[in-house]
Symmetry: C2
Subunit: 234 residues, 2 copies
């Protein structure tokens, strides 16, 4: 019998924003894997750490975070083989990822390689969308409003078209694209309601009006939200 | 000292998909409020019930679920006054809602009325977006793809424009709008990859290819997802 592959969302950053189900599955799985930087540091390990039992096999998946999907795909091919080895030996593997596994989650890279051959289960987690809105203290989307979630690395013209087409928008993966995103939001006349949030729900969370952010300082895990204005809500 | 108003996401349906933080705050709050139907039945109460201590004041907020935001606004005005009474008396109030409080959450109706006068904190929860993708077994959005979240009650032409503008789309609040949404998705040539999910993560969860759903049977809490095709991911 092969092991089961779990994709586990550990939430946005606060270790208390993990689900009971994620904690239970982590307690039972003999192998725990999670994304890490090239140097081996792992934000996901830091979030899940308080809930991870000792004595498990741990696999730090060293990925080029923020260097684009193509670079990540190449790295995950190797780790998929390592994880398949554990599954073949009958050991369940829980792959932990920040936020939700199927909403921009790094689990998707493994799922595409392993789901056809192994039993796979996904445990949804608290995504950064709700966490960022909670941090900003503003409702993101309500009633009959449309929410567009747009990655910042898109080209400027496309970014403008996609952002302009939503009642509420969330720009993800901001990082070094901040100056470009800010130009687009300014051009669309949305700066007054745009909020910048980095490291939502973590100890060093920062929340600022977009106009006041230093463009040089944004980490990869930062977001900008322009909440819906409630016009469609009543 | 006034009490604190909490907006608590209890997740999509499975009581195990609640966060540790939500459980802790429910354990401490003397007043627990949640949306219910006109008849007093509450899906949120059913989700959170296993984690709610005995002996708390409970307020079932009887709202016209599925009859539109304007109807809900009118109802919440009365309940906001009742909740303000508890806050004025120094009692914390936790308002529970399905999914995430600030992503189409019913907490938004209270927030608009009470956040200016009372200390307000939001605990994000697992939203139905990730839960529906997990139930369907398909990654919803990855890499540099754009995700559009679109409420089904929109007019058909607008629905088509909004759905056509995303790489991945999620249609929320489907219910009696299923036939219309299916026409639009057919017209956009997306039927082959569209998945219908009702009551995601609950005991009576149903997952079907969109083409095979009986249009007369969809409950209000049903969704349709058209996952991104991965073209922007590599």
């Amino acid at each position: 019998m092969s092991g089961i592959l779990y994709g586990i969302g550990v939430g946005p950053g606060d270790p208390e924003l993990i689900t009971l189900k994620a904690v239970r599955i982590m307690a039972d799985a003999p192998v725990l894997a999670y994304p890490a930087t090239d140097e081996g540091e792992s934000m996901v390990r830091a979030i899940a750490g308080p809930h991870m039992p000792d004595g498990r096999v741990e696999i730090a998946v060293r990925t080029p975070i923020g260097r684009g999907p193509a670079a990540a795909e190449a790295v995950y091919a190797g780790y998929a083989a390592e994880i398949a080895g554990h599954l073949d030996a009958g050991r369940d593997v829980a792959f932990l990822c920040q936020g939700d596994p199927f909403v921009y989650g790094s689990f998707i890279y493994l799922h595409g390689r392993l789901a056809a051959a192994y039993t796979t289960r996904v445990v949804p987690g608290v995504s950064s969308l709700g966490a960022v809105a909670a941090a900003a203290g503003v409702p993101l989307v309500r009633g009959y409003e449309v929410l567009n979630v747009v990655p910042a690395p898109l080209a400027e013209a496309e970014l403008e078209a996609r952002l302009g087409a939503g009642d509420a928008v969330a720009v993800v993966k901001v990082g070094r694209h901040l100056a470009k995103v800010r130009r687009v939001i300014q051009h669309l006349g949305l700066t007054h309601s745009a909020v910048y949030v980095e490291r939502a729900t973590m100890k060093d969370e920062r929340v600022l009006p977009l106009a006041r952010v230093d463009a040089a300082s944004a980490p990869y895990f930062s977001m900008i939200v322009v909440p819906g204005n409630g016009v469609r809500s009543g």
